[in-house]
C-alpha cells in the first residue's frame, strides 16, 4: 500500500497513527490475509464493533432521556447498520487502501469497524470516541424501524403464533446475491413476498409489506 494512500486515509479520518501497521491491518480483508498469511482485520472488527456500540449507546441514552428502549435500539441500528457504515467507508476513501483478493465491490462497513478498533489500540478510548462522534453520531439520521420485531409482536398478540419466513430463491453471483423471501402467518392466508440484497433486508421488506396488509385487514374488520 502506498504511503500516499495511507496519508490520505489518515487525513480523511482526522487521525494520525503512531503505529501504521495497525491501520494497514484494519485495511486487510480476510481474502487477502488467507492467501498471504498476514493478519486480517477480523479481530480489529470484533473490537471496533464493541467500541462503536458502546459509544453510540451511551450517547443516545444521554441525548434522548425521554425515549423508550425500543426507540433507542432503532436509533442505534441506524448508526451501526452495515449500509450506513459502508457509505462512511466510501467517504473516508477506505476502498483505495483495502487489501483484498477477488472482491468485485468490497463492502467497507467491516473496514470502518476495524479502523475504530485500530484507533482504540493506537491512541486509546479518547480518539476512538472522537472518531465515532465526528463521523457517525454527527449524521442526521432517522431510527431504523425493526419491522421484523414489530410484526413478531403484532402476530403474537393477534394470532398467538409467530411469523414464518421462507427463502424462496437466491440468485446472482456470490458478490451480488438477491434473496427472495416470503413471510406468512400459519393458519391464515396472510402472506407477503419481497427481495433484497441480504436475507435480512428481504425479510425486513417482507415484514413491512405484511404489516401493511394486517393494518388494512384490521381496518375492514372495524368498519
Amino acid at each position: 500500500m502506498s504511503l500516499q494512500v495511507l496519508s490520505k486515509i489518515e487525513s480523511r479520518c482526522e487521525y494520525r497513527f503512531k503505529n501504521r501497521e495497525l491501520l494497514i491491518t484494519a485495511l486487510t480483508h480476510s481474502s487477502y490475509a488467507h492467501q498471504t498469511g498476514v493478519e486480517s482485520n477480523e479481530r480489529l472488527e470484533f473490537l471496533g464493533d464493541a467500541i462503536l456500540n458502546f459509544v453510540v449507546s451511551v450517547e443516545i441514552f444521554k441525548k434522548k432521556p425521554n425515549e423508550n428502549e425500543q426507540f433507542l435500539t432503532e436509533l442505534k441500528s441506524a448508526y451501526v447498520n452495515r449500509n450506513f457504515l459502508n457509505e462512511l467507508g466510501k467517504k473516508l476513501s477506505l476502498a483505495k487502501g483495502l487489501r483484498h483478493i477477488g472482491l468485485v465491490e468490497p463492502r467497507l462497513d467491516q473496514a470502518v469497524e476495524s479502523l475504530i478498533g485500530a484507533i482504540y489500540l493506537d491512541g486509546g478510548f479518547g480518539p476512538a470516541k472522537r472518531f465515532i462522534k465526528k463521523f457517525i453520531l454527527s449524521a442526521r439520521i432517522e431510527p431504523l424501524h425493526d419491522q421484523k420485531g414489530l410484526l413478531r409482536k403484532i402476530v403474537h398478540d393477534k394470532f398467538g403464533t409467530i411469523p414464518y419466513y421462507k427463502v424462496e430463491r437466491i440468485y446472482g453471483p456470490p458478490h451480488k446475491r438477491t434473496f427472495v423471501i416470503t413471510v406468512s402467518i400459519t393458519g391464515t392466508r396472510l402472506k407477503a413476498r419481497a427481495t433484497g440484497k441480504t436475507k435480512k433486508e428481504a425479510e425486513m421488506k417482507a415484514a413491512k409489506l405484511l404489516l401493511d396488509k394486517i393494518k388494512i385487514d384490521h381496518f375492514f374488520e372495524n368498519l
Copy 2:
C-alpha cells in the same frame, strides 16, 4: 421494596449506590412499570448491555491475542448470554428485589444488565467495569459455539444454499414455551428436528443435529 432487601443486594454486588433510586429502577420489570406508571428498567438494560459487551470484548481481545474473531465471538456469547446472566442474577439475590406483576419465574438476565447500567450512571465506568470483571469475567467458561453459523457456512460451501428453519409447533403457557423446530437443506433429504425453551435454543440444537448428520454422510461418501 424493603431497605433490607436493597442492602442485601448491594452487599452481594459489592457496590453501594449513592442514588438508590437507580437500583430500584434497575429492579423494576416493565410489567410493574406499565401498571403503576413508574419507570421500567428497559432503558437501563439498553445501556448496561452496551457496557457489558464493550468490557467483555476488550478484555477477551487482550487476553486471547492468538485467537481468531470467531473464537472471540463465541467466548463473548458465553459471558453475555441470557442463561449465564440469569444464573448470576440468582446468585446476586435479584429475584428478592425485582418488582414485577404476574411473572411466575421472572428471568433475571435483563435485571443484571440493568444493574450494570445503574452502576455506570451512579458511579461511572470504573465501578461498572469492576462489577463485570468480578462477577462475569471471573467465571471459568467455555466458548458458546454458534452451531447455526457453522451450519450456514458448511451448507453454503457444500450445497450452495442456506439452511431453512421452520417452526413446527409452539406449546405451553407464555412463561414456559416450548418450540419445535426443523431445519432442512433445500434439494436434499437432510433434515433435523429439535425442541427448546426459546426459538434460538431449538434452532441451535437442530443445527447441531444436522451438522452431525452431514458429517456422517460425508464419512460414508469418502469410504
